[in-house]
Assembly symmetry: C2
Homo-oligomer: 250 residues x 2
């Protein structure tokens, strides 16, 4: 049974903790967080601490803190011959400063505390310095999800930018759709089926094939009508994305 | 039984035709298209014609052609005391030039010929000049979908712009994600679960609540790293959307 310690209490750590507690192949032996308050809810389920020198013996230490804090936190760890990994999309493996073995365990998903998540399909991007550690991370990953990828630090940085486009930016366009519905006194739910279909379409077609609408068919009349209806901030976004779609289909 | 004639052979007409042919409450008595070739596949299922003067008697005539063609086509119709509707999101009801009764039957969904679609959840936005015609359109709509909305022309134009943001623009961001994956020699499938989760998240949370990522938390270090990695076209989009997200959470 793989013994794991989780270091951190943010959204990723929260969901990963909850996932590992239910996992019969993993023993989550401890969770660390600077503020004990935030992990107090775990006290009857596993050990908790806010003191790095109190970390218990484990096979893998998973650092799941903000990108900026990874380097400093890892340098404070006094763990010899242990595997220490972080869960960040944009931080290279060698930014870990621990004297121990290094690796990455990046969960390619969006996590909000309020939204339950099915780990089974989450792509887990793993990286390690040695084949042996890669194998260990693979065993851990396989006990959680069926989508495991061996990804190096450069590729991971690329994927992370891609994730910003298809998640953060997409969600912001949903937000604009929400605002437009409010403006027109129509419930946002009216756009839900379109949003779901847009997402499910690209499982069967490439996004290039799936595209429709005025920008693709260069329907300048409709485009002009739309732009005239929008406030300035939305006009800028509409114009830039329309231009970019047009170029794609030139 | 409501008798329907469909005028047009594009993506919407294609899917609507196929839906109505299977519908036991509707009699699809004829399909018109300028080019007979495009609707030849229907010849054993319903009447087909490329001559507007040959249109058969029906209760509802559904014009499903490009926005630009609606006005002219409707003016060529010689149908007295019949209900003529179009299926466009951005054309007002009174742009119909037929001498007959007018209405709108807007299917708020993205249609590609290659992708099957479940009509049952498609929001259908209906509009008519009289309560009687609205009732008739409601009966037709209810036989197809459970999501019926009574929407006026102004609201519909707004919704259509919203649809461009959450569909066309979102799909273009998927396309950029696809390009980034290709660039990094990673299969695009790695982003699929994130794309699906991003879409399903906003059924439970508002997009405002669902947002995560560097732009929201004003993580300028990550933002700068990302921008440095991108080609110019993607840089512009990244910068503008990041600015817009930041403003939303100021």
């Amino acid at each position: 049974m793989i013994k794991v310690v989780i270091i951190g209490g943010g959204n990723v750590a929260y969901h990963l903790t909850s996932c590992l507690l239910k996992n019969k192949h993993i023993e989550l032996i401890q969770v660390f967080n600077r503020s004990l308050d935030k992990i107090q809810y775990l006290k009857n389920k596993t050990l908790i601490t806010n003191n790095l020198s109190e970390l218990k013996e484990a096979d893998i230490y998973i650092i799941s803190v903000s990108d900026d804090a990874i380097s400093k936190l890892s340098s404070s760890l006094n763990l010899q011959n242990k595997l220490v990994v972080h869960t960040s999309g944009s931080v290279a493996m060698n930014e870990l400063q621990s004297k121990s073995r290094k690796g990455v365990f990046y969960l390619l998903q969006t996590f909000s505390k309020e939204k339950k998540i099915d780990f089974n399909t989450i792509p887990i991007c793993i990286e390690a310095e040695t084949d042996k550690d890669l194998k260990l991370l693979k065993t851990l990953a396989k006990s959680i999800s069926k989508n495991i990828y061996h990804i190096n630090s450069e590729q991971r940085k690329g994927i992370h930018v891609g994730a910003v486009f298809v998640n953060n930016f997409v969600n912001h366009l949903y937000h604009i759709g929400y605002e437009i519905c409010k403006e027109n006194k129509v419930p946002f739910e009216i756009l839900h089926p379109l949003i779901q279909e847009t997402a499910s379409k690209i499982v069967e077609l490439t996004p290039f094939e799936a595209q429709t609408g005025p920008a693709k068919r260069n329907d300048t009349k409709t485009i002009q009508k739309h732009i005239a209806m929008l406030p300035k901030n939305q006009q800028e976004i509409y114009t830039l994305l329309t231009k970019s779609i047009s170029k794609t289909y030139e």
